[in-house]
């Protein structure tokens, strides 16, 4: 194993908030970068105020939503609406290799933190921006965050059953993997270029573009064929069964949280035959209505009813294990409880990481989203408390003297 992580020595000024920016910067920290998160009590990251909060605790430092995306970072409290706060921001930009923000272009312009502004301070900097709709264009200043971005980028129209309204995926879906992941790739590309040439660049990961890219097959079907795809439930044209099936509940409270479901999918004739055998070849499976994929697609409602009747009184985990043993793709529709407390595979791989936070206590964090055999990423510290490292950053990183720091405090810059 290598002693050094890939990004050790890399300096990141993280001016982002909410989800897409902080998650990206957290991955950089996990792989060794020094990430300074610039925050302010005067414009607080709303995630610090959103549930869940550590049990029986309140305040800005105990939100699981915020903490999960900010492990391994330093936090400085800085009021960018003061002249002195601006000066400290400029010093951080001078210090940094990478600048990152997902704050709206109007505010970034007001704070004079556009790419054109920051290259004047640091000509080699990589400036990574994640505007909602872009730094130009007629919808540049449209409002939005995840809850509205998900429908705008096409996910709601394509998700769920056709007779339901387009309510989406129950989360601000593209905020968590798609947008931070794409931005991470772009920053790593820019870092490589910087290493080869010494040059920084302007990186724009527009959330509209980044979120729409994974919906390419539907967009392409429109541009090439003029067809407007719409949501069509859990099916696929080339697999049957391909759905989630209700199993024995986890407990008998009758609430959605007590339910257990298992996803089962058969793509090939081999998988279908294995499935038939695994469920004991009941009579209905011999019917011509289910003999071929084409026939199963045609009679899918009836097929799904039959499969449901088989799963109804069974344990979802046993169904999964038994079917997988026979070579049939199956997986429990796991809740967070099952991922954290039951999933033996996740446990053995040690995916979730438990960190001790001075206020929130010991809580779970998502582990690194990919594993490097010789330089495994590591969540090195829990999320910072708001302004926890203000003194460290001003003194040790920026080299300010005690009296300068005192003046900044008097000027209201460090809040």
């Amino acid at each position: 194993m290598s002693a050094k992580l890939p990004l050790e020595g890399l300096k990141v000024a993280d001016f982002s908030w909410f989800g897409a920016g902080p998650i990206c910067a957290e991955h950089l920290a996990t792989y060794g970068a020094t990430v300074v998160r610039i925050e302010s009590e005067t414009k607080i990251d709303a995630l610090r105020t959103v549930a869940p909060f550590a049990k029986d605790k309140t305040g800005y430092n105990v939100s699981g939503y915020f903490n999960n995306y900010n492990a391994g970072k330093l936090s400085i409290a800085l009021n960018l609406n003061t002249d002195e706060g601006q000066k400290i921001a400029h010093k951080l930009i001078e210090w940094a290799d990478v600048f990152l923000t997902n704050i709206t272009p109007r505010v970034i312009e007001r704070w004079k933190l556009t790419y054109d502004d920051i290259v004047k301070i640091n000509p080699e900097i990589i400036g990574a921006y994640q505007p909602m709709q872009g730094y130009d264009g007629p919808h540049r200043d449209f409002l939005g965050f995840g809850a509205v971005l998900t429908p705008i980028t096409g996910y709601n129209h394509l998700s769920g059953f056709p007779e339901r309204p387009p309510f989406g995926l129950g989360t601000n879906y593209p905020d968590y993997v798609i947008n931070p992941g794409h931005t991470l790739i772009a920053i790593l590309a820019a870092l490589r270029h910087k290493r080869r040439t010494g040059k920084g660049q302007f990186v724009e990961c527009v959330q509209l573009e980044s979120s729409a890219a994974p919906l390419a097959p539907a967009i392409f079907d429109y541009t090439a064929n003029g067809r407007v795809q719409t949501r069509s439930g859990n099916g696929l044209p080339y697999a049957a069964p391909h759905n989630a099936f209700k199993c024995q509940p986890a407990s008998d409270g009758g609430r959605p949280m007590d339910e257990r479901w298992v996803a089962i999918a058969c793509f090939t004739d081999e998988e279908w035959s294995a499935f038939v055998e695994a469920i004991g070849s009941p009579e209905w499976t011999g019917d011509a209505k289910f003999a071929t994929l084409e026939a199963r697609k045609e009679n899918e409602t009836e097929l799904d009813e039959n499969v449901s009747a088989w799963t109804a009184d069974k344990n979802a985990f046993e169904v999964m294990h038994d079917l997988q043993k026979q070579g049939v793709p199956a997986g429990v529709v796991q809740s967070a409880r099952e991922l954290l407390d039951i999933d033996e595979h996740i446990k053995e791989r040690g995916f979730y990481v438990y960190l001790d936070h001075p206020e929130a206590g010991r809580t779970a964090y998502d582990g690194p989203p990919f594993r490097l055999s010789k330089t495994p990423g590591k969540l090195r510290s829990p999320a910072p408390m708001l302004g926890e490292h203000t003194e460290y950053v001003t003194k040790e990183i920026l080299g300010l003297k005690d009296e300068e720091i005192a003046d900044l405090m008097v000027a209201g810059a460090l809040q």
């Binding site: 290598s2 890939p6 130009d136 965050f145 809850a147 790739i185 949501r231 070579g327 199956a330």
Partner: protein
């Protein structure tokens, strides 16, 4: 934003692409950043070429739009790794490569002597990226994992859908997409490390892990409070119906509101808009005037403080919702979206694929990318870039390859395979 392009970030990097469906977006991301991605197809072609939708619905290995989107900028050779002759050629290619991306059952390549150990014996600084449903280790490592299994096991399916329906599968293979994105990020991370240290390594990506962060707060909610988030239909995270939050139907589609969110205009501004158009009914009168002035996110947190007031409040919310529903129903989706945004009211259009293709914003930014297909006699509009880099831009430099299109170029011109050797390979069925 047009700036002088000077180079591609990966223009000195060669990738051998053994990826099945789960990993093809990963190698596309690398190819579109300039890597020389050599796609290794089994003789007869990549099975993903058989997936719909097809260009003009013509089922043909060269016309799967699904496949075309995932294979821009790649070169294609055909090679059967299960044949010894095929493996020898592959090993010769490995010596020229920086990265191998594969998605086989864990241990499959090891069995051929082509796992990380075998590859690094040929090319010591090679990076091997393996993308599978559950990663290289653990009791589920060999489980079959089409997209639906990863989305189910990763916790994302549990959160989506109406309580009366089965949990909803995310559209268009989000499990595969997430694995590929994290596969590309992990590969780039390993590449950066190799550039600095000269050391290659094995990158392990699990679909279940890479997607699971998209559970939003579900994991922490269980961890901290032992409370379980579940699928909640249109209500999402908010447990009661609040007017202006959620989907509203227009006369030609849908919009989705989040009125009252920080940074946007308040419910009062929406009432004023309805009043301007004579659609506010009695919302401009008491008790609604005051009620609406206080209708914001803070309202939600104090909603239950006076239990006796709840039925009355629910009735008022329901009436406001009805008035808004009628107002929105009289408008087109673009009219509602742009009209609301013009008033700083947080509404988004529920975009259809057509809306994305015709979006004034994406048009202005030239997001759709024309690619010439001489064989089809047409230029197709490809969905565009996820990111823009001013110095090392994303670009589609060549259309996706025909099956084995680059056999002669790569084996003959680049590896120096002679005519006789080539004929023997063809006879063996290895190419």
């Amino acid at each position: 934003m047009t700036q002088q392009a000077t180079a591609a970030a990966l223009d000195d990097v060669r990738v051998l692409d053994l990826a099945g469906e789960i990993g093809q977006y990963c190698t596309k991301l690398l190819a579109d950043l300039g890597a020389d991605v050599i796609k290794i197809e089994p003789p007869g072609g990549d099975p993903v070429r058989a997936l719909p939708p097809f260009y003009h619905d013509e089922q043909d290995p060269q016309k799967s739009l699904y496949w075309l989107n995932l294979n821009t900028n790649k070169r294609s050779i055909t090679l059967d790794l299960d044949k010894p002759e095929g493996r020898v050629l592959f090993e010769r290619l490995v010596a020229t490569a920086d990265i191998v991306v594969e998605t086989g059952d864990p241990g499959y390549l090891d069995g051929l002597g082509l796992g990380y150990e075998g590859l690094s014996a040929i090319k010591p600084d090679i990076i091997l990226t393996s993308i599978t449903g559950f990663g290289q280790t653990g009791p589920h490592a060999h489980y079959k994992a089409p997209d639906i299994v990863g989305v189910a096991m990763g916790g994302v399916m549990w959160l989506a859908g109406d309580p009366a329906d089965p949990p909803n599968l995310a559209p268009l293979k989000q499990g595969f997409t997430s694995s590929s994105i994290m596969g590309a990020a992990g590969t780039m991370m390993a590449l950066y490390h190799r550039d600095v240290s000269g050391e290659g390594q094995h990158v392990d990506v699990s679909m279940q892990e890479s997607l699971s962060m998209a559970q939003e707060t579900a994991m922490q909610t269980w961890d901290m409070l032992e409370a379980l988030r579940t699928r909640n239909g249109h209500r999402g995270i908010i447990p009661i119906d609040i007017p202006g939050i959620g989907p509203y139907e227009c006369n030609d589609g849908w919009v989705y509101g989040f009125v009252g969110a920080p940074g946007g205009a308040t419910w009062g501004a929406l009432r004023d808009w309805m009043a301007e158009e004579g659609m506010a009914e009695n919302l401009t009168e008491e008790p609604y005037t005051e009620f609406i002035d206080n209708l914001n996110l803070r309202f939600l947190t104090t909603f239950a403080e006076e239990p006796a007031e709840i039925p009355k409040k629910m009735q008022m919310l329901s009436h406001i919702h009805d008035v808004l529903t009628k107002f929105v129903a009289g408008k087109g989706r673009w009219e509602m979206y742009e009209g609301a945004q013009g008033r700083r009211l947080l509404f988004g259009i529920v975009s259809t694929p057509e809306d994305l293709a015709n979006s004034p914003q994406l048009k202005f930014r030239n997001w759709l990318t024309p690619v010439e297909h001489p064989e089809l006699g047409e230029t197709l509009e490809y969905p565009g870039t996820p990111y823009r880099l001013s110095e090392t831009p994303w670009a589609i430099r060549s259309r996706p390859p025909l099956v084995g299109e680059h056999n002669r170029e790569i084996f003959g011109d680049e590896l120096g395979v002679t005519e006789d050797e080539w004929n023997a390979l063809e006879a063996s069925g290895a190419v």
